[in-house]
C-alpha cells in the first residue's frame, strides 16, 4: 500500500478565498492510501516546499499530491522538492484547484468545494498508481550536419565550428554561397554583397572544423537527436579535385556553351565550369548533361589540355554514411515561377521583362555585362525602367498569399541603381503597399523617392511588346486613373518560394512543412529555429522569406542551439514515453503507422516458452530517443500491449473512476 501525503494550498486567498482548504485536507485524509494531509498558505514557497520535504521524511511518504495551481506552472517546482527529499520526482501528482476551480467558480462555493474534493480524489487515485520513472540517457555524437551552403548554412557552420565542434556542410551546387553571392549590393547600406559574403565562403573552406561537400546531396536521414545517421551522395564531378589546381585552362578550351544558371541565363558558360570566379571550391565540375565527351564519347578536349591530368570521365557518384548529433536545415529559397502563370506580363516571351535576381546579375560588376545595365534583347541601355512589385506574392489568384518581405527593399535598391547608373533615366514602381520594416529601410525608401523614382500604387494589367518598347498598362489607384508607360525594360519583383527540392528534404528528415512548403518551426514566436523533431534546426529562408540580417540572426540562433545540444556528453530523454509489453504484442505494427516520430520499429525477438522450442516473432519496439510521449500508439494497439509511462491506462481509468464516484 502506498503512503500518500496530500498538501492543499491556499494560494493566499486565490484558492482559500473560495474553497475551505482545511476541510479539503481533512476529507483527503480519508481517501485510500492517504496517511498524511495538511493545508498551507503557499505550498510553492520555500517553507511550503520544506513542509513537503519534512513531511516525506517524518511520515515516510512515498507519493505526494499537491492540490494547488496548474501543473503547467509548478509541477517542476514540486518535483524538485521530492528529489530533495530523496524521492523519485515522478511520485508527484497535482490537483489543479486554482485555474480549474476557485478562479472559475467564485460564486458557487458549494459546488466548487464538491468539485475540489473530486479533483483531489482523482489526484490521489492516480498517485497511488504512480511508478518511479527515470529519464533515459543517450550519448551525443559531437558532429553537426548543415544542409545548404548559402549564407544561412555558412553562418551556422562557422558558429558551430568556432565552438570547437565538427561540422559537415553539404551543398548541392558546385560552390557554396547560395543566392546572396549573386546579389550586387545589399539594402539599405548598399555594401557589396560579394565583398561581405566571399570572405565567409573562404573562411568555411579554410576552417579546420568544417568538412565541405559541394556538388553533394543528402539522401537519407535516420536516427534521432544526438544520433542521426546520414547518407550523402557526392555527385561525380569528373574532375579529380585532389589533382586540379583550378588553373582555368579547361573551361577556356571547352567547345560547348550553355546558358549560365548563375547569371540567370543572361550569360553563357562552358560544360566544364566554375559558377563564378570566386567560387568555393575554386575548382571546376563537368556538367554531364551537356559535356560532349560524356554524351557522345567524342571530344576529350579538356582532358587533353589539363596540365594536372585531373579530368576523369569515368568518375562515378560516391555514396557514404556519416553519424551526426544535430542537423541544421538551411536550404534557402527559389523564385516564384512567374513565367507559368503571369500571362499579362507575357509568360516570359519578352526578353526585356526580367526578374529582380536577373537584374542583380545585370547590375553586378562581375555579371555578364560587367555591371552595365543593358537590355537582354539588344544590349541597349534602358532609359525607362518599370518595376512591378508583388509578382507571385500577395496574389491569391495566381501566386502565393504571403508577402515575400524582401521585394519592396530590393526594388527600391534597383530603382536607386538605375537612377545612379543611367543619367536621365525614368523609373516607375508599381506597388500594392511598400513595406519597409527593417533598420534604415524606410529612410532608404524615402531617399529613392527623392532621387526621382515614381511610385505608382496599383497593379499592372498588361505588358506587351510594341516595336522596341514594352508598353506597360496599369492603374494608379490613388488617382483612379489608368496609366500607360512605354518602357525599355520591365523588372518583376518575383516572390520568394522554398527552393526546389525542399519538400523532399523535409520528407527525408521527417520535418513538416507549412502550406506554402516552408519548413515548419516548432513555435512561431518562441521556438523559431527548432523543429518538432529534436536535434533538427532551421536557418534562413527555408523557414520563410527573410532578408540577410534576419537569415544570419536565425543561422546564429540555430548554431547556438546546436552547440547547446552537442556540448553535452549525454542527453536526458523524457521518461514519459511509450513502452511495449512484448508478451502481449502481436506484431501487427498498427502503432508504427500512427507514430509521427517514426519512434516505433519492428524487431524480431526469440521467444522461449517452457516445453516448446524457441521461436522467433516480430514485435514493436519504441526508440526512447525519438518518442515524444503523445500516446497515440497506445490507442491504436488492439492487444493493449502499448502503454504510456506517466499516463498509463491503469492510471487514467483510476482517475475516471475517482471522478465518477
Amino acid at each position: 500500500m502506498p503512503r500518500i501525503g496530500v498538501f492543499v494550498c491556499w494560494c493566499g486567498s486565490n484558492i482559500g478565498g473560495v474553497l475551505d482548504c482545511p476541510e479539503l485536507a481533512r476529507v483527503a485524509g480519508s481517501f485510500p492510501g492517504v496517511v498524511f494531509s495538511t493545508d498551507y498558505k503557499y505550498v510553492c514557497s520555500d517553507p511550503g516546499q520544506n513542509l513537503i520535504v519534512e513531511s516525506i521524511r517524518k511520515h515516510g511518504l512515498d507519493r505526494v499530491v499537491v492540490a494547488s495551481c496548474s501543473p503547467r506552472l509548478h509541477e517542476e517546482t514540486f518535483r524538485q522538492a521530492l528529489r530533495r527529499a530523496g524521492l523519485n520526482p515522478y511520485f508527484l501528482e497535482m490537483a489543479n484547484l486554482r485555474e480549474h476551480c476557485s478562479w472559475v467558480h467564485p460564486d458557487a462555493q458549494e459546488a466548487a468545494q464538491r468539485k475540489a474534493i473530486d479533483l483531489v480524489r482523482r489526484a490521489v487515485a492516480k498517485a497511488a498508481l504512480l511508478e518511479p520513472l527515470s529519464p533515459g540517457r543517450i550519448p551525443v555524437i559531437k558532429r553537426c550536419l548543415v544542409i545548404g551552403g548559402g549564407i544561412a548554412g555558412i553562418q551556422a557552420a562557422l558558429d558551430v565550428a568556432d565552438a570547437g565542434l565538427e561540422v559537415l556542410l553539404v551543398e548541392r551546387e558546385p560552390t557554396i554561397g547560395g543566392n546572396m553571392v549573386k546579389l550586387d549590393k545589399t539594402f539599405p547600406t548598399l555594401d557589396c554583397s560579394a565583398c561581405i559574403s566571399t570572405p565567409k565562403m573562404v573562411a568555411v573552406a579554410q576552417h579546420p572544423g568544417i568538412k565541405l561537400y559541394t556538388y553533394a546531396e543528402v539522401e537519407e536521414v535516420s536516427g534521432y537527436i544526438g544520433n542521426f545517421k546520414v547518407r550523402i551522395r557526392q555527385k561525380a564531378r569528373y574532375v579529380d579535385h585532389s589533382k586540379c589546381t583550378g588553373c582555368g585552362t579547361c573551361w577556356t578550351k571547352c567547345p560547348t556553351s550553355v546558358p549560365d544558371e548563375f547569371n540567370m541565363g543572361l550569360g553563357e558558360r562552358a560544360a566544364i565550369y566554375i559558377p563564378f570566379p570566386q567560387a568555393v571550391p575554386n575548382k571546376p565540375v563537368i556538367d554531364a548533361a551537356h559535356c560532349r565527351q560524356l554524351i557522345k564519347g567524342k571530344c576529350g578536349i579538356c582532358a587533353k589540355h589539363c596540365p594536372a591530368e585531373a579530368i576523369d570521365y569515368k568518375q562515378r557518384d560516391e555514396v557514404f554514411e556519416v553519424e551526426v548529433g544535430a542537423i541544421v536545415v538551411a536550404t534557402g529559397f527559389g523564385l516564384f515561377q512567374w513565367e507559368k502563370v503571369y500571362g499579362e506580363y507575357g509568360y516570359g516571351r519578352y526578353p526585356d521583362v526580367i526578374t529582380g535576381l536577373a537584374f542583380e546579375r545585370l547590375v553586378n560588376a562581375a555579371g555578364p555585362t560587367g555591371g552595365k545595365i543593358q537590355r537582354p534583347s539588344d544590349g541597349k541601355e534602358p532609359k525607362t525602367v518599370v518595376f512591378i512589385q508583388c509578382v507571385g506574392s500577395r496574389d491569391e489568384a495566381k501566386g502565393k498569399e504571403y508577402c515575400s518581405r524582401v521585394c519592396c527593399m530590393y526594388t527600391a535598391k534597383h530603382a536607386h541603381q538605375v537612377l545612379e547608373k543611367i543619367p536621365g533615366a525614368q523609373v516607375y514602381v508599381f506597388y500594392i503597399d511598400v513595406r519597409t520594416f527593417g533598420k534604415g529601410y524606410e529612410e532608404f525608401y524615402r531617399r529613392v523617392q527623392d532621387e526621382g523614382a515614381v511610385y505608382i500604387r496599383g497593379r499592372v494589367s498588361k505588358v506587351y511588346q510594341d516595336g522596341t518598347k514594352l508598353i506597360v498598362r496599369g492603374a494608379d489607384t490613388l488617382l483612379g486613373e489608368p496609366v500607360e508607360i512605354a518602357a525599355d525594360m520591365v523588372v518583376l519583383a518575383t516572390g520568394v518560394v522554398p527552393s526546389a527540392g525542399a519538400q523532399d528534404v523535409a520528407r527525408m528528415i521527417g520535418v513538416s512543412v507549412d502550406k506554402d512548403g516552408f519548413f515548419q518551426e516548432a513555435h512561431p514566436k518562441l521556438r523559431p529555429v527548432e523543429t518538432h523533431t529534436g536535434g533538427i534546426f532551421l536557418a534562413g529562408a527555408c523557414q520563410g522569406p527573410k532578408d540577410i540580417p534576419d537569415t544570419v540572426s536565425q543561422a546564429s540562433g540555430a548554431g547556438g542551439k546546436v552547440c547547446a545540444l552537442l556540448l553535452k556528453d549525454e542527453l536526458e530523454t523524457s521518461p514519459m514515453v511509450a513502452r511495449v509489453n512484448e508478451a502481449l504484442c502481436t506484431g501487427c505494427l498498427a502503432c508504427r503507422e500512427v507514430c509521427p516520430y517514426r519512434a516505433i520499429q519492428a524487431v524480431t525477438i526469440t521467444e522461449r516458452l517452457p516445453g516448446q522450442p524457441p521461436r522467433e516473432r516480430v514485435v514493436a519496439r519504441v526508440t526512447e530517443g525519438l518518442c515524444q510521449g503523445c500516446g497515440s500508439c497506445t490507442v491504436a494497439c488492439r492487444a493493449g500491449a502499448v502503454d504510456l509511462k506517466g499516463f498509463t491506462n491503469e492510471q487514467l481509468l483510476a482517475e475516471v473512476d475517482a471522478l465518477c464516484l
Binding site: Y342, G343, E344, G346, Y347, R349, K462, Y464, Q465, D466
Partner: protein, 286 residues
C-alpha cells in the same frame, strides 16, 4: 462527327459570312452541323445587362433543346459562347436557380451538354488533318489572329489561355499564312460601346488596327461577329475620326481556312466585306 450548331442571331444578319463559311468548311471537313431546332436568343447584351434571371433562362432553354437532341453543341459567336458557358456554370453552382429555370421552361435542365466554340471544334479535328486539306496555301499572307475579350475570358470559361491565346494562330498556320506576334490579340474591340461612347469605341478599334499593322499584319482574323463588324464596318469611320488610312480586311477564321482549302470565295462570303480583302489577298504567292 455530328454536333449541335447554335448559330445565334448575328450569324443570321450582320455576320452571315461567318455562318456561310462555318457551314461550308464544316461540311468540307466532314463535320455535320445540326441546327438546334427553335433556338432562341443566347441572352447576351440586352438580356444579361437588364435581367440576371433572363440571362440564365434564355441560354438554358437552348441547352435544354440541345440535350433533348442528345448532342453537344458548337457555337461560332464569341458572345453566345460566353453566355452559354456562363449560364451553365451558374446553374451548376446554384441549385435553386436550376429549379426556377426548369419551372419557367416547363422541362428539366440537366446540364449535360458540352459547349464548344467553333474554334475549338475545328482545331479539335487535328492540325495535321487540317493541313492535309490545304490545297491553296496562303503563303506570303501575314495575319494577326484576334481573339477579342469574350472568347478567352474569364479563366475557366474561355476556350483558350486568357492572356496569351494561341489556338487560332496554330490553326491559321496550317494554311501556311504567317501569324504575327502582337499585343492586342485579347483586347476589347469596343463593339459594345459604339452607341454609347463612340469615340472611346473607335479609339479601341484604332489601337487594334494600329498594333496589328505595326506588327506587319496584312489582315486580321477573328472569331466574333461583333469584333468583325466593329473593325470592318467602322474602319472607314475610324479613319475619318483619327485621320488614319487603314485598309485592313477582317476575316472570320473559317473564311481563310475555306479559302486555303480551295473553296469558292463567293460561297465563303468574301465578297460582302466593307474593307475589300482582294488587295491583301494579292500578296498570296501564286
Amino acid at each position: 462527327m455530328r454536333i449541335g450548331y447554335y448559330p445565334g442571331c448575328s450569324l443570321q444578319s450582320s455576320a452571315r459570312e461567318y455562318d456561310l463559311a462555318a457551314r461550308l468548311v464544316a461540311r468540307h471537313l466532314g463535320v455535320q452541323l445540326v441546327d438546334i431546332p427553335d433556338w432562341n436568343c443566347c441572352g447576351a447584351s440586352a438580356a444579361h445587362s437588364t435581367d440576371p434571371f433572363l440571362a440564365v433562362a434564355l441560354p438554358a432553354r437552348n441547352l435544354v433543346l440541345a440535350s433533348e437532341m442528345g448532342l453537344d453543341i458548337t457555337v461560332p459567336c464569341a458572345a453566345c459562347y460566353h453566355r452559354l458557358r456562363m449560364a451553365q456554370r451558374e446553374l451548376a453552382h446554384d441549385r435553386d436557380l436550376g429549379r426556377k429555370v426548369a419551372e419557367v421552361l416547363g422541362r428539366p435542365y440537366r446540364g449535360t451538354v458540352r459547349i464548344y466554340s467553333l474554334l475549338e471544334t475545328i482545331t479539335g479535328i487535328g492540325l495535321e488533318q487540317l493541313a492535309a486539306q490545304i490545297v491553296r496555301p496562303l503563303k506570303g499572307l501575314r495575319v494577326a489572329c484576334y481573339y477579342g475579350c469574350l472568347l478567352v475570358r474569364p479563366p475557366g470559361i474561355g476556350c483558350d489561355d486568357p492572356e496569351n491565346p494561341e489556338s487560332m494562330d496554330r490553326l491559321i498556320e496550317t494554311t501556311k499564312a504567317e501569324t504575327v506576334s502582337w499585343g492586342y490579340k485579347n483586347e476589347c474591340c469596343g463593339g459594345a460601346l459604339v452607341f454609347g461612347a463612340r469615340e472611346a469605341a473607335f479609339r479601341l478599334a484604332r489601337d487594334i488596327l494600329r498594333n496589328a499593322t505595326g506588327a506587319g499584319a496584312h489582315a486580321i482574323v477573328c472569331a466574333c461577329p461583333l469584333c468583325q463588324s466593329n473593325l470592318d464596318l467602322r474602319q472607314g469611320q475610324v479613319n475619318k475620326m483619327f485621320g488614319t488610312n487603314f485598309a485592313v480586311p477582317i476575316f472570320y477564321f473559317p473564311q481563310l481556312l475555306g479559302l486555303a482549302m480551295g473553296l469558292n470565295p463567293r460561297d465563303l462570303g468574301l465578297t460582302t466585306h466593307f474593307v475589300d480583302p482582294q488587295r491583301a489577298l494579292k500578296v498570296v504567292g501564286g
